[in-house]
């Protein structure tokens, strides 16, 4: 009788577990009902974008599974999100958590605006790629819950380019044969070419050494692309439009537009890594999108629980499927070949440095890109000047 009772109880527990109950993970990693209190969340996804759709889908589910949580979502324009967070967090305001690439992570940590999460996340990131964890570390401490990899790759229109170029020579040949490529003319999108030509931005001490490595060759190559019809746009929206409307065959851009490109091009859309150069694979800047917890957060536990729910396997699957983003988790199977291509591009990318020195890359090199590509300086002069300015700013 006693054995029968135990057996019945065991069956009942198994059925209860299978049917789902109060302790069943809501989205794969966080128990339903474990997110509590008021939580304010900021994101900088574009209105109507596929990333916003993915987040909305996840938040709706989390709200349903966690009735004790009152989650307030606020969208901030991307070009304002860091500045707004920094000024508000510094005075004790701002959201409990926000998501963004790790562009400003180092600066925010040095300003004591983000909470170190090593203790809180101990044992909870077992299935996250080490590159993702390292991307959110500053001076050995973890300052965010990793979510996505972001690196640019080559989008192509399969109707016009059946086989994407694998090397810089192939790309040049294609453009000479009449195929078209548009690039965003800036220091971020064009970064990856430098590695393909053996370029190195900084040495171990943070000193810019781009003027002694393959950076000059990379820009000489891009100038050659321009002479055979390669387009360079300072306005990203225009570059996007020309590709989405089929006016150009290829574009270098990131996974954040994958969902939007798919809407326009459907099955015609292809993604491949940026062509490899004479010195190796292209190394686009690989950023990590994470969820950062405000040092002044009023609901730290709620914010961390929410971040974990958004970045668990189910959450990252939604981002991959809906928005085409590359998950940092190793237990999320990417089925979409386009997302897989971005995953490959991220793996060979150059992990975005979080040093103060790298912060002084953007101004001088942004300027150099414009000068070189608009014919106001040759590649050697432009890169040498930019490197000197970066070193001067960094007192190197």
């Amino acid at each position: 009788m006693k054995l029968k009772a135990i057996a019945l109880l065991s069956i009942a527990l198994m059925v209860a577990a299978a049917c789902g109950g109060g302790t069943t993970p809501s989205t794969g990693g966080v128990a339903a009902g474990s997110i509590k209190g008021n939580i304010t969340l900021w994101h900088a996804y574009g209105t109507g974008s596929s990333e916003e759709a993915a987040l909305t889908q996840l938040i709706d589910k989390i709200k349903k599974d966690n009735p004790d949580a009152k989650i307030t979502v606020l969208q901030i324009p991307f070009d304002q999100v860091f500045n707004k967070f920094q000024t508000e967090a510094a005075t004790g305001g701002g959201p409990d958590l926000f998501t963004a690439p790790n562009d400003e992570l180092g600066n925010e940590v040095r300003a004591n605006l983000l909470l170190a999460l090593d203790a809180k996340l101990a044992g909870k990131l077992g299935n996250v790629a080490q590159l993702g964890i390292d991307g959110l570390k500053v001076d050995g401490k973890l300052y965010g819950v990793p979510m996505l990899f972001k690196a640019v790759a080559l989008y192509y229109n399969k109707d016009k380019v059946p086989t994407p170029p694998k090397t810089t020579d192939e790309l040049m040949t294609m453009l000479k044969a009449g195929k078209t490529l548009v690039q965003n003319e800036n220091a971020y999108h064009m970064f990856g070419w430098s590695t393909a030509f053996g370029g190195q931005l900084m040495d171990g001490s943070g000193k810019c050494v781009a003027d002694t490595t393959g950076w000059i060759d990379a820009f000489t190559y891009n100038l050659a692309l321009k002479t055979v019809g390669g387009k360079f746009e300072t306005d990203g929206g225009r570059a996007d439009t020309s590709f989405r409307q089929g006016q150009v065959d290829m574009i270098i851009n990131g996974p954040w537009v994958l969902g939007d490109y798919k809407k326009d091009l459907g099955a015609k859309l292809g993604v491949a890594p940026i062509p490899a150069g004479p010195k190796g694979k292209a190394g686009p800047l690989t950023g990590v999108d994470g969820w950062y917890i405000n040092q002044s957060a009023k609901n730290v536990d709620g914010a961390i629980a929410l971040a974990l729910a958004l970045t668990d396997a189910a959450g990252q699957k939604v981002y991959a499927d809906v928005a085409g983003d590359v998950p940092v988790r190793t237990d999320v199977t990417v089925t979409d070949p386009l997302v897989k291509s971005f995953s490959d591009a991220s793996a060979t990318g150059f992990a975005r440095p979080q040093t103060a020195e790298f912060g002084n890359y953007w101004g001088p090199f942004g300027d150099a890109v414009t000068k070189i590509m608009e014919g106001k300086a040759d590649a050697k002069t432009g890169i040498t000047e930019a490197c000197a300015a970066m070193n001067k700013a960094n007192k190197k």
Binding site: T87, A89, N360, G363, E374, K376, A386, A393
Partner: protein, 342 residues
């Protein structure tokens, strides 16, 4: 200023009805009590930030000092002020303080000249006898003022697009009538670095901005000029006609001198607004190409918003304030605009 306040207090004492005086409270105290609430509010929202900015300008205040519990920044003396005027700002590519100031002044002057002259011209035309639908014109001409600058800037930026913009398409259509192919009208209004006029170091984006801001600025001047025109007695014109003065002579000898008292304060207002015209430049050209159309106020924004150099930005703000102060004193002295208030 102290004597003005003292005189007001004495006047208040004289004006005060005898029955309202309370024993033991000096009359000047009542006056100061009235001022006190406004003074307290102003202390927090104006005087304190100004003093704080002044202090910041002598420090290396940065993001790391932003938190209330953060360590105090280092005092750097006049280093920020010196770095700015010696262009020692490697964090910002192509930083040229004096070049930027020169452009800012030229930008302001060139715009206001067009605003005032076009504004007066259109006001005179609208004021001419026998013009049909005058009220309608006046109503639609006010549109640029009521549309938010942000919307205006976005629309004009799109219109200046090299590939799809209405300006190039319009030029191509006109050129087509003369057999000129559309390729000749692929004008990169915003991005072209080389100046369109070789001897004039101004990029094409300056002209794009100028066209946009003329469209934006003349209606205000027209409104001011229209009001002033209607207050000019017709007897002057009748007398001038009897004396044989032509229409052009009447314009230069009667209309323009009598418009002056109204137009000069408007032009001064235009100077200050155009000098600090952030929205248009930031939205249309973004200060580009290569910072050639950057003005002081857009640079101040970048120093804070993009570079987080709060100490430098504070020093920059003080320079801007001093420049505007000098500009205001100069124009005031030349035009004697506030003469009647002294």
């Amino acid at each position: 200023m102290a004597s003005v306040v003292g005189a007001s207090i004495d006047q208040a004492k004289l004006d005060q009805p005898a029955g309202s005086r309370r024993a033991g409270r000096p009359p000047w105290l009542t006056a100061y009590l009235f001022i006190l609430p406004a003074f307290i509010v102003m202390t927090f929202i104006t005087y304190w930030p100004i003093l704080f900015q002044f202090w910041m300008s002598f420090t290396d205040y940065g993001l790391r000092n932003l938190r209330l519990d953060a360590p105090a920044p280092n005092l750097v003396g006049f280093q920020n002020f010196i770095d700015l005027i010696t262009n020692n700002m490697p964090q910002i590519a192509n930083f040229n303080f004096w070049g930027m100031l020169g452009f800012n002044l030229f930008w302001t002057a060139s715009n206001v000249v067009f605003h005032v002259s076009v504004g007066i011209l259109i006001a005179v035309l609208l004021n001419s006898k026998g013009l049909w639908f005058r009220g309608f014109y006046r109503a639609i001409f006010i549109l640029p003022i009521v549309i938010p600058t942000l919307v205006v800037a976005t629309v004009w930026k799109n219109m200046f697009d090299a590939d799809y913009g209405a300006i190039n398409q319009g030029l191509a259509a006109v050129g087509g009538l003369f057999g000129i192919t559309p390729d000749h009208f692929h004008i990169r209004w915003i991005d072209q670095i080389d100046p369109p006029i070789s001897w004039l170091p101004l990029p094409l984006s300056y002209f794009a901005l100028l066209i946009t801001n003329i469209w934006l600025g003349w209606p205000f001047m027209t409104i001011v000029a229209t009001g002033a025109l209607q207050s000019i007695s017709k007897e002057y014109y009748e007398a001038a006609s009897i004396d044989g003065a032509s229409g052009v002579q009447q314009f230069w000898r009667i209309t323009l001198p009598l418009l002056r008292p109204a137009m000069i304060p408007a032009a001064m207002y235009g100077l200050i607004v155009t000098f600090n015209l952030f929205n248009l430049i930031y939205m249309v050209s973004g200060g580009g190409p290569l910072r050639q159309t950057e003005i002081l106020i857009t640079t101040a924004f970048r120093l804070v918003n993009e570079n987080r150099l709060y100490g430098v930005a504070a020093a920059f703000g003080i320079y801007t304030m001093l420049i505007l102060l000098i500009l205001t004193i100069l124009t005031n002295r030349i035009t004697k605009a506030t003469e009647s208030y002294v």
